[in-house]
């Protein structure tokens, strides 16, 4: 562990001692050794490749269906740590939702002077079509992904909010399935909060926002841009796990402000659309007229209360990086509470004082596009060359409003299996928050890990990998040397993660590769009596 950055907090070894959530894992890694772990890593890759869990990277030539590297060493949080995060996440998502309702409604927060009017009204994500319209249930941010980073035992920060179409939840689920298959023994020695019920929670959440025009059981669909989208695997995975249709724009049509899908038995009405298409492409009649991905007339049907969309169009103004610095203020303004989760201090290059500071301290800061995602167009000052910094300085001077900057945080590290052995690598965490009739959060989320030594960029489009994320339920691990026998207190209980053989009816996914086989006797053909003759 010699190459651990001196300043980073390691979640397994803090100050040279093993932190309690990792006690059992540390023993396991010690006992297992590099070769066996390498072998597990190769098995994991075969598994992911076989089921086709892939992620397309736009700028890359070659393999159009790349695997996101999966690290076999999990990231572990204690129940106590998680509970605090969960409370903070719920609070934050409620505030973001309240902000959206306000921004497209009375705009009280602007009138109160707590957020600049232009950040809302002149925001690229602001949709005039949403003004004065309340989405079903008053919910805008049905599915949010909140990116968290950690710098110490109790220091968590929100790096950014994702209120449009956050992706990655399928990796959270498949990573867990892979771990269950690769390390069943390890699971019997931990009590790990399950995550596999996420699709059910998602379906319940989506049903919970069925529009007033829906009678009977709501018909839910997932709307995808199609197989060439980088997250297509996830779209099909979620549709399958929920048991709903995966539709493309051309599968839907609107008649008399009601949405139908084209089926072999004729048109069928649709009530709730979990759309994984960007706002601009949703409806060529309302937004980009050249969009071939969307559904003409969809917005009219939405505004007529005949269909629900998750997330609501226009929700992007809440996760804009220029709006981000005001989220703690939203918590105070709408909920009358102090924010549980902190923001990273953010400099807005649009402001002169901030800009001067940023330009003078580029070597210490991370500069991001105010409206970018996926780690594209980003400068990590301390790791950048002199030319790169000069290039960004010029860009900031030319279009200051496009950039924000933040101090480079010493992101926490977690042991990771690398070429040279187990080494600490920086991680973040994206928990997924569901908001329908209430807020639901599956414990954990997607841990992304920067696989390159010293790198702070965890995005899968930039060479990042993922880890399974465990939230440990009590009891605490046993003292060293005392292995718990399977079935002795540690056996999974109902509601706990199953250790093997989780079969589901549907296709796709790691679960199907794990079908257990009971030792049932097979029927045998009676011995040949010779009369039929051998051929």
């Amino acid at each position: 562990m010699a190459d651990r950055p001196a300043s980073a907090f390691d979640e397994m070894h803090a100050d040279g001692v093993i932190r309690p959530p990792y006690a059992e894992m540390a023993r396991f890694l010690e006992a297992t050794g590099q070769d066996a772990l390498d072998q597990k890593r190769r098995e994991a890759e075969v598994l992911f490749r076989r089921i086709g869990v892939t992620f397309a990277v736009y700028t890359e030539g070659g393999d159009p269906e790349r695997l996101i590297p999966f690290d076999v060493i999990p990231r572990i949080l204690s129940r106590e740590e998680w509970e605090r995060l969960a409370k903070g996440l719920e609070q934050r998502v409620r505030a973001l939702n309240a902000f959206l309702a306000d921004a497209y409604g009375p705009q009280e927060i602007i009138k109160a002077g707590r957020i600049p009017a232009e950040l809302v009204r002149e925001n690229e994500g602001f949709l005039p079509q949403m003004v004065g319209f309340t989405p079903p249930g008053g919910v805008y941010t049905v599915i949010s992904g909140i990116d968290l980073v950690r710098t110490g035992p109790d220091e968590f920060y929100v790096l950014e909010d994702n209120c449009r179409t956050p992706s990655g939840v399928s990796y959270m689920l498949e990573n867990r399935e892979a771990m269950l298959r690769l390390f069943p023994d390890v699971f019997t020695r931990h009590r790990i909060a399950p995550v596999s019920h996420y699709p059910e929670e998602l379906l319940e959440t989506l049903k919970g926002i069925a529009p007033p025009g829906c009678h009977g059981a709501p018909k839910v669909v997932v709307l995808t841009p199609g197989p060439y989208n980088s997250a297509y695997y996830e779209h099909s995975f979620l549709a399958d796990e929920m048991g709903v249709e995966l539709v493309e724009g051309a599968d839907l049509f609107v008649r008399d402000k009601v949405v139908f899908m084209r089926t072999t038995a004729g048109p069928q009405r649709v009530d709730v659309i979990y759309r994984r298409i960007d706002d601009d492409y949703l409806d060529p009649e309302a937004f980009r007229p050249d969009s071939a991905l969307g559904v003409p007339g969809l917005m009219a049907a939405y505004r007529a209360g005949n269909v629900a969309l998750a997330n609501a169009p226009g929700a992007g103004i809440a996760d804009d990086k220029a709006v981000y610095p005001f989220v703690p203020e939203m918590v105070r303004f709408y909920l009358g509470e102090e924010p549980i989760l902190s923001n990273v201090p953010t400099f807005m290059c649009e402001r002169e004082a901030d800009r001067d500071y940023v330009l003078a301290n580029l070597d210490k800061l991370v500069v991001k596009l105010a409206r970018g995602s996926g780690g594209y167009g980003m400068l990590v000052g301390p790791h950048a060359t002199e030319e790169q910094r000069a290039d960004f300085a010029a860009r900031i001077r030319a279009r200051p409003g496009d950039y924000i900057a933040q101090p480079t945080l010493a992101l926490s590290t977690v042991p990771t299996l690398c070429e040279t052995g187990i080494s600490p690598r920086h991680v973040d965490l994206r928990p997924f928050v569901l908001f329908g009739k209430g807020v639901r959060i599956v414990p954990g989320g997607l841990t992304r890990v920067a696989l390159r030594e010293g790198s702070l960029v965890v995005n899968s489009s930039q060479g990042g990998g993922t880890k399974d994320t465990w939230v440990l339920d009590d009891p605490p691990p046993l003292p060293p040397g005392e292995a718990r026998e399977p079935g002795q207190g540690a056996a999974p209980e109902p509601g706990q993660e199953r250790a093997a053989g989780g079969m589901s009816q549907s296709m796709g996914g790691m679960q199907q590769l794990m079908g257990g086989m009971a030792g049932m006797p097979r029927g045998a053909k009676p011995a040949n009596d010779g009369s039929a003759g051998e051929k």
């Binding site: 076989r50 399958d240 249709e245 049509f253 038995a265 296709m507 796709g508």
Partner: protein, 316 residues
């Protein structure tokens, strides 16, 4: 079921079947070409296969001369030929990927593993001694896919549309392979060694040489070969067997989707009836070529009608 899903399943069935059929046709033609004497006859064999697989015109635009190597390359690995095995595997897998959730794991793995394996192949895989092994491999992969579908798929609409694609393609293939050698089946055709080889080749190309012996227990006879491939219900690749299943499958789909029927049901019924009540003597007397081109045309029309009734999303 979503019309687009039905469409992808239908084409998955067609392309997967087509990949196997091209491999079967290649294996039979390769054998004929090896035995051919003089060499010009070998070229004739490859030309026949080009015509049967419907890729002769496109081949001619790329190649001035038809050599065995060029034909094999064109029909196996050439991505520019939409009927090559490589293009069929690519299209089958592309369709499979868009309807993954309608497939079972075993089906997906059968098609996906084939595709992964294919991407590793280079041109040496089809050279010389390695070609027969390659063709066997392709055949076994399509058999695996069909077996996975037969053994693991729920018998719902997804199965029906996949199966419909498979058998429609199969019928088309049988009709084309027979038609391209129709001269050997004409009443005036001599019962010589050359024609004997032709009859054998037709049977081989639909894996039915052994089946012929089981049904007729006799030396190959052109009338019986034609009868087996067109009118015998026992042979799964005969036109009768295929269209009987096409009609059944379309009926099953109609009954699960509210009973609505269209032109595709009428066409399938008419084709099936013609085969069911046909007699080989009359059929040969009227001209095998005329009969088979009629079947091929009606098969194309049937495909269009299935498309417009089920696959392209009817709007009221």
């Amino acid at each position: 079921m979503l019309s687009r899903t039905a469409d992808s399943l239908f084409w998955l069935g067609r392309y997967s079947e087509r990949a196997g059929n091209v491999a079967r046709g290649l294996a039979a033609t390769l054998r004929m070409a090896l035995l051919a004497n003089p060499l010009s006859a070998a070229e004739e064999e490859w030309r026949s296969l080009m015509i049967a697989t419907g890729c002769d015109p496109a081949f001619r635009t790329r190649h001035a001369v038809l050599t065995q190597d060029a034909a094999i390359q064109w029909l196996t690995l050439d991505p520019g030929n939409p009927a090559s095995v490589a293009a069929c595997v690519e299209a089958a897998r592309r369709n499979a990927r868009t309807v993954r959730t309608a497939l079972t794991v075993d089906m997906w793995e059968a098609i996906n593993d084939t595709w992964i394996e294919f991407r590793r192949l280079d041109s040496s895989a089809i050279r010389g001694d390695r070609l027969p092994g390659f063709l066997d491999w392709v055949k076994s992969r399509t058999l695996l896919f069909n077996g996975a579908a037969a053994d693991t798929m729920l018998r719902d609409d997804a199965w029906s549309f996949l199966h419909l694609g498979t058998i429609l393609e199969r019928a088309d293939n049988t009709a084309r392979l027979l038609d391209v050698r129709h001269a050997a089946f004409a009443p005036e055709a001599a019962a010589d060694a050359a024609n004997y080889a032709q009859w054998q080749a037709v049977l081989r190309s639909v894996s039915a040489l052994r089946a012929f012996q089981h049904v007729y227990h006799a030396r190959l006879d052109p009338k019986q070969v034609a009868e087996l491939l067109i009118l015998r219900p026992e042979l799964p690749r005969s036109l009768l067997a295929c269209y009987s299943r096409v009609e059944q499958t379309l009926d099953a789909i109609a009954s699960t989707s509210g009973g609505a029927r269209g032109e595709c049901h009428r066409l399938a019924g008419a084709l099936h009836a013609k085969l069911r009540y046909g007699r080989i003597d009359g059929l040969l007397a009227d001209g095998l070529h005329e009969f088979l081109t009629g079947v091929i045309d009606q098969n194309i029309a049937l495909g269009h009608e299935i498309g417009s009734f089920y696959l392209n999303g009817r709007q009221p």
